[in-house]
Amino acid sequence: MNIDFSKNHFELFGIAPAYQIDPIRLEQAYRDIQAQVHPDKFAYLSDAERRLSMQWATQANEAYQTLRQPLGRARYLLHLNGVEIHEETNTAMSPAFLMQQMEWREAIGEAKSAKDVPELGHLSGQLRAEMQVQQHKLADFLDRDRDFAKAAEIVRELKFMEKLREEINQALEALEA
């Protein structure tokens, strides 16, 4: 028994493949699909239907989680256009960006050892703002210029920034525990 998983994530939700999407429409489409396929709708039915429902609901969750995160959506769009990011192996970054990263790391490290919770919160807010700037650039490169090489570079940078954010969150968690 085969499920037609050949549909890409955008097709699954019936929305045009682009970086800038209407999040409310995405969410509504996701909910409409789950309303049809979620295992809760099949709990009293046969094994076959329950299994299929789980596979479909899993697929819908995967697609939704990918598309709703800006980074996930960008990476997926690049993938659809034949561009792979190779985040793990390709770590070539502009020197300016690397300098900035080092400054961030230092600031986080200092706030961490000083157990300065407000400062960590402040850094987190600053980082969020910078990530938003990057996301605007992504929108331009992906939707307007269709410059996938540049977009891939931004995605790699955003991935770095995401790691910084995780670091801040972990530091906050450690201090609160």
Binding site: M1, N2, I3, D4, F13, G14, Q28, A29, R31, D32, I33, Q34, A35, Q36, V37, H38, P39, D40, A43, Y44, L45, S46, D47, A48, E49, L52, S53, M54, W56, A57, T58, N61, E62, Y64, Q65, N169, L172, E173, E176, A177
Partner: protein, 622 residues
């Protein structure tokens, strides 16, 4: 005039027949069963009109048991054989129980899960829980006058895979068909949300007898979406009792007391805690078996003081849950209080302060979980209501596997919406390596030794290749009950090895069978009767499911030939059901399952199409 209804062949005589289903709150201290009756969720009472069943089981030498109030009454005089709070031991080994020494039980460390030595032999927490579930099942079947189609059993949201699996095993042992394991705070949110037509972000603060959960949900247009959950599966009212107990020992200068005295003082401690919700101070008196007298007065202030660190232990997970949800305290519209332990005034106060608002206490904190579970059970059993809703829940703890150096590589992150699956590829690190061991863990820490080990298995038969040549794909699938299955296969050479593991705390079918056997005296006859009964129920369920599906859209999804094949399969199963050969029934059930697979797939495709078409129409309207 009433017309005689004649059912068409292949159609259920009464397609809208109400299917009997219940919601069960299997609590640390008390358990409850509820059902939906005439559109209302109600808790079912025992013959004495009591809703709560104390989660206490007492074993007798002949293997018989007392469950509930009679067992609770004997817990001080027969502490070894009277098991309370068995939920704390579900899916836990001896080394997971730091306070085992202070509990009045004789533990035996069995592989996977701890056991308790009683006069009726060693009992696993799964067996103890099954005794409680059996009583609730009997209560429901007597009250509702028929056999149950299934049950929704609630579990703490922060239960890990081993604890969930143990709960499901207990239900199976009690002869219940588990429609779903539902997270307790989610069940409460359903009861609260539907009752109050709530919309927006809500937090559910659930402090039970032995577990603490905090869930952050978004309620909108009939969707209950859990954004994040956190908690402590070993923190609850019991710990508050224990603090009072320690305070008593200290104040009365007692040490090295006997188990029955320990149990007596723990009971007095619990009573004191409960009285303090209504009085500024309480008197605690007891006469120990040694003749020693205890006579103390505990004030609300002292109680607050000695339990301050416990209260704080609930606020840390609350902060984490909010952060994981990407929200601030101001975003939370209401905090629903669940669990008997939230009656304590210091809890009410601390929660109010943390969330900067009055907590919501308008539902009975003891009953709301069971009521919500019953509402969901009614829907899952196929008793559709007009206003349908959708529950989107999450997995509470990350899942990963062990990599080089005892480190954890996370494969599924905590708070992922379930069901969820993720695959990861691994490779061999030695030339000619033909086997690979895979160690599955759950938890947030970086080191394997700090996480819970769920399963270890070996993937054998990898074709010999140079190091890094093999490509082994490990797939994690978490179902809607939050239960994990893992499969792995090597795919580079076309040779496939595949294995599906059940986490090590889960019981194998053999073990379940063994437990059933030992729990019954005249094993053989009972086992056959039981196997027959189970197959009959399973077959009945399948026929009913297919009939419902055929009734809905059999005509336009099946060709005449396909329809005939399914009808023939159902007829064969029906004729097998007339006999008493459980193997024949099983064979025909499997056959019918197979025949109906294509139909099931088409129905699912149609459902998805329907969802998509809904959108296209909306788009046109814009």
């Amino acid at each position: 005039m009433a017309l005689l209804q004649i059912a068409e062949p292949g159609m259920s005589a009464a397609p809208h027949q109400h299917r009997l289903a219940v919601g069960i709150d299997l609590g640390t201290t008390n358990s409850l069963v509820a059902t939906v009756r005439s559109g209302m969720s109600v808790v079912l009472h025992d013959e004495n009109g009591r809703a709560l069943l104390p989660s206490v089981v007492r074993y007798h030498a002949d293997g018989s048991t007392d469950v509930g109030y009679p067992a609770q009454a004997m817990q001080s005089s027969d502490p070894h054989n009277t098991i309370v709070s068995a939920k704390r031991f579900m899916g836990r080994g001896l080394r997971d129980l730091p306070d085992a020494g202070s509990l009045p039980y004789q533990f035996a460390d069995a592989p996977g899960m701890v056991q308790l030595k009683t006069v009726a032999g060693a009992k696993s927490p799964v067996e103890v829980s099954a005794e409680i579930l059996k009583v609730l099942r009997d209560r429901a079947e007597k009250s509702m006058g028929g056999e149950l189609v299934g049950a929704v059993i609630t579990v703490p949201a922060y239960f890990d895979d081993a604890q969930r699996q143990a709960t499901k095993d207990a239900a199976r042992l009690a002869g219940l068909n588990v429609l779903r394991l539902l997270n307790e705070p989610t069940a409460a949110a359903v009861a609260y949300g539907l009752d109050n037509a709530a919309e927006g972000v809500y937090a559910v603060y659930d402090l039970g007898g032995g577990t603490f959960d905090i869930s952050v949900l978004r309620l909108s247009k009939g969707v209950f979406e859990v954004l994040a959950t956190n908690g402590d599966s070993a923190l609850g009212g019991d710990d508050f009792d224990h603090r009072i107990y320690c305070w008593i020992l200290e104040q009365a200068k007692l040490s090295g007391i006997k188990p029955q005295d320990a149990r007596l003082l723990l009971t007095r401690a619990r009573e004191a805690k409960e009285d303090l919700t209504a009085h500024p101070e309480v008197r605690i008196t007891a006469v120990l078996s040694t003749g020693e007298m205890v006579d103390l007065t505990l004030s609300s202030e002292v109680f607050t003081e000695i339990t301050r660190s416990l209260v704080n232990k609930t606020l840390v997970p609350s902060k984490k849950a909010l952060r994981d949800a990407g929200l601030e305290v101001e975003d939370v519209k209401g905090v629903v209080m669940v669990g008997g332990s939230t009656r304590m005034s210091q809890i009410q106060h601390a929660v109010g302060e943390f969330f900067r608002q009055e907590p919501l206490n308008n539902l009975d904190p003891d009953k709301v979980v069971a009521l919500g579970a019953a509402i969901q059970a009614n829907v899952l059993a196929g008793n559709r209501s007009d206003d349908d809703w959708l529950l989107l829940d999450v997995i509470p703890l990350s899942l990963g596997i062990e990599t080089m150096g005892g480190l954890v590589e996370k494969i599924i992150q905590r708070n992922s919406t379930i069901p969820v699956a993720r695959a990861q590829e691994f490779t061999t690190f030695k030339d000619g390596q033909t086997a690979m061991s895979i160690h599955v863990v759950q938890g947030e820490r970086e080191l394997v030794s700090d996480c819970r080990s769920l399963a270890k298995f070996e993937l054998r038969g990898i074709p010999p290749m140079v190091a890094g040549g093999a490509r082994i794909r490990v797939t994690f699938q978490v179902d809607a009950d939050g239960l994990l299955s893992v499969s792995a296969r090597e795919k580079s050479s076309g040779v496939e090895a595949s294995v599906v593991v059940k986490p090590s705390y889960g019981l194998s079918d053999d073990e379940i069978t063994n437990m059933l056997r030992t729990s019954q005296e005249n094993a053989k006859a009972d086992m056959t009767a039981r196997a027959l009964r189970e197959q009959q129920v399973e077959a009945g369920r399948l026929i009913e499911a297919i009939e419902a599906a055929l009734h809905e859209n059999g005509d336009h999804l099946l060709s005449a030939a396909e329809r005939a094949e399914i009808d023939e399969g159902m007829a064969s199963l029906r004729s097998a059901l007339e006999g008493r050969d459980h193997l024949a029934i099983k064979e025909q059930t499997e056959r019918l399952n197979h025949i109906s697979e294509t139909f099931a797939a088409r129905r699912m495709d149609q459902s998805v199409q329907k969802a998509l078409t809904g959108h296209k129409l909306e788009e046109l309207e814009i």
